[in-house]
């Protein structure tokens, strides 16, 4: 699709906006609608648009399958790690209140890290799924 001038220009303008919006949704999830799940899906949508425009090999160079596999596990491990950290700090599993000096601050840190973990996993999983389906018979 790279030869369509209009599509190419529009996609080039849109992709950075989509990725930036994903980050906004991720980190603004405490105050407005949003959070790890939505941010992950939006980020993945940006990458998928890139893959549709510039072809699968180019997208594979942007985020290699190996890195995606690492990110998928890293997100889950980050979530579990926060839970374990709160056990070591003397609380229950996933009890963020003990993570910092006062409970509210601890909760903020815990929620931030957990949402980050969810966001990483969802992003990587969605991109990975698209690569797997699209790369099956070289559609692109």
């Amino acid at each position: 699709m790279i030869r369509h001038v209009i599509l190419r220009i529009v996609a080039k303008t849109l992709i950075p906006c989509i990725l930036l919006f994903a980050f906004y949704v991720q980190f603004h999830g405490d105050f407005g609608p949003g959070g790890g799940f939505q941010a992950g899906v939006i980020f993945a949508a940006g990458i998928i648009l890139f893959a549709l425009m510039f072809g699968l090999p180019a997208a594979r160079r942007v985020c290699s399958p190996r890195a995606l596999e690492i990110l998928i596990s890293l997100g889950v491990l980050l979530y579990g790690g926060v839970g374990l950290a709160s056990i070591f700090k003397g609380g229950n599993f996933l009890d963020y209140s003990v993570l910092a000096h006062d409970a509210v601050h601890g909760q903020h840190i815990g929620i931030f890290l957990v949402e980050l973990g969810v966001g990483l996993t969802v992003t990587a999983v969605m991109i990975k799924l698209f690569f797997l389906f699209a790369g099956r018979k070289h559609i692109l």
Binding site: F31, A124, L132
Partner: protein, 175 residues
């Protein structure tokens, strides 16, 4: 409803995407902004793309066949639907603040979440903190599903015929 009748799977998938977008608008009307957000991104975006990818890998026309099971299925569906609608007659009305679902846990979340967590978005605080176990489980489910798809589709493509040929070659080699 048109989804049932259509034999062109491509059109059916497109209708499903439109339906997802419309239901996202409905969710916004019902104050579920987070759910609407997710539905619009996931239902109208990712799952449509995955379905289209599957259609590209397989075939995009449904075979028009005379289906013997259709009358039976229709009967079962009508019966189940009637029972379910009978069951809803006792349900609390739409938007009723006295409904049981709005008391017990929900009251506690709405009252204490702003003080305990000081995070304005209650959906985020309930999601990540009060029901952290749930979300942890969901993340693991997504992780597992990705592993499943990777195992199914990631491997090199070998059809049954190739496998049989390989088996034959192996046997031939041994004999």
């Amino acid at each position: 409803m048109a989804i049932i009748r259509l034999h062109d799977l491509f059109a059916a998938v497109m209708l499903l995407g439109i339906f997802s977008l419309l239901s996202a608008a409905l969710f916004t009307l019902m104050d579920a902004v987070d759910v609407a957000f997710t539905e619009a991104a996931v239902g109208a975006g990712i799952s449509t793309i995955l379905l289209l990818g599957t259609l590209a890998l397989t075939e995009s026309e449904e075979k028009p066949e005379h289906n013997r099971r259709a009358p039976l299925a229709l009967l079962v569906v009508l019966l189940t639907g009637a029972v379910l609608i009978y069951g809803t007659l006792d349900m609390p009305h739409y938007g009723d603040p006295a409904a049981p679902i709005h008391h017990y846990l929900a009251d506690r979340f709405i009252e204490s979440s702003p003080q305990e967590l000081q995070i304005p978005n209650m959906v985020t605080s309930v999601l990540a903190s009060y029901r952290g176990y749930d979300t942890w489980g969901e993340t693991t489910v997504i992780f597992t599903a990705a592993i499943g798809v990777a195992l199914g589709l990631g491997a090199r493509r070998r059809s049954r015929r190739q496998l049989q040929e390989e088996e034959r070659e192996n046997k031939g080699g041994r004999a």
